[in-house]
């Protein structure tokens, strides 16, 4: 290759600093060629190397007796009994989705599916936490429509049910939406595959779609701030083909039954480069790649382009030598391209050949292991001062307030979205979207996996540490509310530019809060992803550490939902209410204020209350359960009532400091449970014994929501408020 002239522009284009370049020269003992520079650029990108977050991610607890594999592999793994494991991870596809919402979101789904089936797991569920800009922003509707269609288009075709997620709106995401996707799979514990290359001479097999020029520098794009100029990057967004992905899933899982796979890794961000480097690095070996054998879709591609392409639906497999024909037969059956493109070596080097010459020759460990790690300066966010509650009363009655909250974009029903997702395919969806956690039966068993994603970005913005704790606590609570034992979490940490100390402070605060909650709740982190530089023209998103939780229900007969079965049952509130309105949706939607402190998270109370509720659910005493979160008590009651197609009479206790606080406050560690009236006394006594506050607040029945002393609100009007907003928003005008 011709010698490369290193200019500041070239380095800037590759998002490498002068110091980083100096380090590259030091490692190589020479100047890199263009292909090598490209490799360093992606391998040392924020997206691949976690260089800004690494030292703080180390604060997460990652171990528990039921954790089989923690962070560092393609996905995390937990034991779910009977020789089975759950494999799961969450990832972001924010930047591509903003530029090209359909393909950006679709390929986000494809990427996370590959992370899971590459470990030998059959994907069984997808969940999507989505954050969009202000509904009034001219692009929002287009983005919602495109992202939802993209997720559906991909997930529906591959035949993995999309069972949950979240969709919220805030102007802070106007120029930078968040599209995160979580995938959960199930595998046999003794059939798990890792991405560790081994065995000198073993063939390296390329499988799946052909390589084109799409997505070159996707990982670097994901590591840069946005600007108006980013629109011009549309060609760097990859295009997904869910049909090929479906074939790839079936073919890979079939191959994995054959005892001939040594290591396997998907070609995700940074494509062939990162998959081969990561496999070689984990296995402590080297790899020789022959680019002339890579199946190409376009002519005239350079080594640089072949190495950095992010064409979708491709896998790299290290086979046991001698089993090539077995593999060819399987991939031929599924109509997929497959070619031996290299061999495992013991040199510790990645040697890339192209047209009889060496296109790149790099030491594996320094490229993937010696990426710079930054201790970026950060400032701790000050703790906001709570204000007295009494000056935060909206000038409307409680019924009107409830209707306005139910129809606000964050609380309005997302049926319009999840009805576009096949949430029932695989015929194991026991609880679909719309409840606290989705429940997917482990195929052929009585077990269920409870799944949820949660985060309250406005709390994280107000006080990152509290917000981080709350995201984990709410995840744990949602799993508990269906009767599951929370096992572990994955996460996707979405933040702005970490080079700004305030943003870095948000990241550190959220991580520390999450870590504290994970420790207190025995709820370790087993996988995750970091997405930084979520800014457009200097405007950062709200700090959004999305948490994805997995819980286990050993016997599905012990599961509950949010709908109660019949009238004349007692509705009980579990947990303490102080009427906390700071940072609440009530404050934002009805008083037009986003200030105050978020509700404090008392992890001991969280654990105590949750353990109590789960125990009562498992004892069969609880007929319905719902956790309290956004919008507080009255919103939760209305949601249960609507799911039950029933009504409820609710008492307001005497002597409250603020009725609005009682009805709409967002105190944590609380649940609503529905119990047979005859069992209330023993239930309350058991709560007292456990040190848990439980009080009867209402009785089920009737045709609407009646707050004692106020005019009743019909179920129809509640239903219209909740169901009406999103279809009306998406239906307005033409797209």
């Amino acid at each position: 290759m011709s010698p490369l002239e290193i200019t500041p522009e070239l380095l800037a284009e590759h998002r490498l600093t002068a110091e980083e370049y100096a380090r590259i020269v030091e490692i190589l003992g020479r100047a890199p060629n263009l292909a090598e520079l490209g490799i360093f650029s992606v391998m040392w990108s924020e997206h691949c190397s976690y260089k800004s977050s690494k030292r703080h991610l180390a604060k997460f607890p990652t171990e528990a007796p039921w954790v089989v594999c923690g962070p560092g592999e393609n996905a995390g793994i937990v034991d779910i009994g009977d020789g089975q494991v759950a494999v799961f991870k969450m990832e972001s596809h924010n930047h591509p989705s903003f530029i090209e919402p359909y393909q950006g979101a679709a390929t986000g789904v494809g990427g996370i599916l590959r992370d899971v089936f590459t470990m030998g797991a059959r994907p069984v569920a997808l969940l999507d936490p989505l954050r969009f800009g202000d509904p009034a922003h001219p692009r929002t509707r287009h983005l919602v429509g495109g992202v939802v269609a993209g997720i559906g288009g991909y997930g529906n075709c591959v035949g993995v049910p999309t069972v949950g997620g979240e969709t919220t709106f805030h102007r802070a995401y106007n120029g930078n939406i968040l599209v995160n996707v979580m995938c959960v799979g199930v595998a046999e514990a003794d059939r798990v595959f890792y991405a560790r290359a081994a065995g000198v001479g073993n063939p390296v097999l390329y499988v799946g779609a052909k390589t084109g020029r799409d997505g070159i520098h996707g990982a670097t794009m994901a590591s840069a701030e946005f600007s108006e100029a980013s629109e011009a990057r549309r060609p760097t967004v990859q295009v997904g083909d869910p049909f090929t992905e479906k074939l790839l899933i079936e073919a890979c899982l079939e191959l994995m039954q054959k005892d001939c796979v040594v290591a396997i890794q998907d070609m995700g961000a940074a494509g062939l480069t990162s998959s081969s480097f990561e496999m070689a690095a984990r296995g402590g070996c080297g790899i020789e790649l022959d680019l002339d054998r890579v199946p190409l879709r376009e002519t005239g591609m350079t080594p640089y382009e072949i190495l950095l392409s992010e064409s979708q639906e491709r896998m790299l497999v290290v086979l046991r030598a001698g089993h090539e024909d077995e593999a060819y037969a399987i991939f031929a059956k599924w109509g997929l391209d497959c070619a031996v493109v290299g061999r495992v070596t013991d040199t510790g080097r990645m040697v890339v050949r192209w047209r009889h010459s060496v296109a790149a020759d790099l030491p594996v460990q320094p490229v993937s292991g010696a990426a710079p790690v930054y201790d970026r300066p950060w400032v701790e966010a000050p703790r906001p001062i709570p204000e007295p509650a009494d000056d935060r009363i909206a000038p409307v009655d409680h019924g009107t307030a409830l209707l306005r909250l139910l129809s606000c974009p964050d609380l309005a029903s997302k049926r319009w979205i999840w009805e576009q997702y096949d949430h029932m395919v695989m015929a194991d969806t026991v609880q679909g979207p719309g409840g606290d956690a989705a429940v997917v039966r482990v195929h052929g068993t009585r077990k269920g996996l409870a799944l949820t994603t949660d985060c309250t970005p406005r709390y994280c913005q107000a006080h990152p540490r509290t917000g981080g704790m709350q995201a984990v606590a709410e995840t744990w609570r949602n799993l508990t509310a269906v009767g599951a034992r929370p096992l572990a979490i994955t996460n996707c940490l979405n933040f702005g530019n970490p080079e700004r100390p305030v943003i870095m402070g948000q990241l550190v605060g959220c991580i520390e809060g999450m870590a504290e909650a994970c420790r207190a709740l025995d709820f370790p982190v087993v996988s995750g992803n970091v997405s930084l530089y979520n800014e457009t023209d200097g405007q950062a998103i709200l700090p959004t550490p999305n948490v994805g939780g997995v819980g286990l229900i050993e016997d599905l007969s012990g599961m509950v939902g949010i709908a109660w079965p019949h009238d004349d049952l007692s509705l009980l509130l579990i947990g303490e209410s102080t009427g906390w309105l700071g940072c609440s949706l009530y404050l934002r939607e009805l008083c037009g204020r986003e200030d105050g402190a978020p509700p404090p998270v008392d992890l001991a109370a969280e654990r105590r209350n949750g353990d109590f509720v789960r125990k009562r659910i498992r004892a069969g005493e609880v007929l319905a359960c719902h956790d309290l979160s956004d919008g507080g008590l009255l919103v939760a009651v209305a949601e249960m009532m609507l799911a039950s197609r029933s009504g409820v009479h609710l008492a307001i206790p005497d002597g409250l400091p603020s009725v609005a606080g009682w009805l709409f406050g967002e105190d944590q560690a609380r649940y609503l449970v529905v119990v047979d009236a005859a069992r209330v006394a023993t239930f309350v006594a058991a709560a007292a014994d456990a040190g848990v506050q439980a009080r009867v607040i209402g009785v089920t029945g009737g045709d609407g929501l009646t707050l004692v002393g106020h005019p009743p609100i019909s179920r129809n009007s509640l239903c219209e408020a909740r169901e009406g907003w999103l279809p009306a928003f998406m239906g307005e005008g033409s797209s």
Partner: protein, 221 residues
């Protein structure tokens, strides 16, 4: 019951259909690969939901020309039962084994929900078990379930009692709210709703069961 389910590349409800059939039939169900052109003697062949060959052309258009469809047509000619669900229904119309066509939903979006379906015809081997049940609840999940058929054919279908299922609240714009139709000899049924997703009380409905148990009774073994 000698039953089989076809897998096309891109089928994704094949396993679900096998599981449901085995649960009701109590016998194991054979899997057929799309390239098989010689089939053993069978009582029932199921064409599952999904996206055969990616459905990048019209839904079911490529599958209708695959090797296995010839064998399925011969099976149907001999009077064997054929059940096409969702993509399977689309394939059967593309293959000419059922009249009409399935085009994009009137609302243009994919729709997945539990719907109420009227069993419009109980005098068929597929639907006899629904006698007395006015409406049943079955899930739908499709982008192209809008059944179209010309005036003349529609009159024939209605007149011959070949409309097997009808939506109560038409979710996709189908002509005559048609959710499922029978062939002239009543041994081929295509329907958009997914009975295989409604055989287990845990999943919210068992209204798919009578369809399979009717077939079991009709085959009589």
């Amino acid at each position: 019951m000698r039953a089989a389910v076809v897998t096309f590349p891109g089928s994704n409800c094949d396993r679900d259909l096998v599981v449901a059939m085995e649960a009701v039939f109590g016998t194991s169900v054979r899997r057929i690969w799309h390239q098989e052109s010689d089939l053993p003697s069978l009582d029932l062949i199921g064409l599952p939901g999904g996206f055969s060959y990616g459905d990048y052309l019209r839904c079911g258009a490529i599958a209708a020309r695959s090797p296995v469809l010839g064998a399925i047509a011969r099976h149907a000619e001999r009077g064997g039962f054929v059940l096409g669900i969702c993509n399977g229904f689309q394939i059967l119309t593309e293959a000419g084994l059922l009249p009409g066509a399935l085009i994009r939903n009137a609302g243009l979006a994919f729709v997945c929900r539990m719907v109420e379906v009227e069993v419009a015809e109980t005098s068929s081997a597929f639907t006899r078990g629904y006698t007395g049940a006015a409406t049943v609840r079955l899930p739908i999940a499709h982008h192209d379930g809008n059944y179209v058929v010309d005036e003349e054919e529609l009159a024939r279908l209605e007149g011959e009692g070949r409309v097997a299922f009808r939506y109560r609240d038409n979710p996709n714009g189908s002509r005559g709210s048609i959710a499922g139709v029978l062939s002239l000899r009543r041994n081929v049924l295509g329907l958009m709703p997914h009975p295989e997703r409604a055989v287990d009380p845990l999943l919210g409905s068992v209204d798919g069961r009578p369809l399979f148990s009717s077939l079991l009774a009709a085959v009589g073994r």
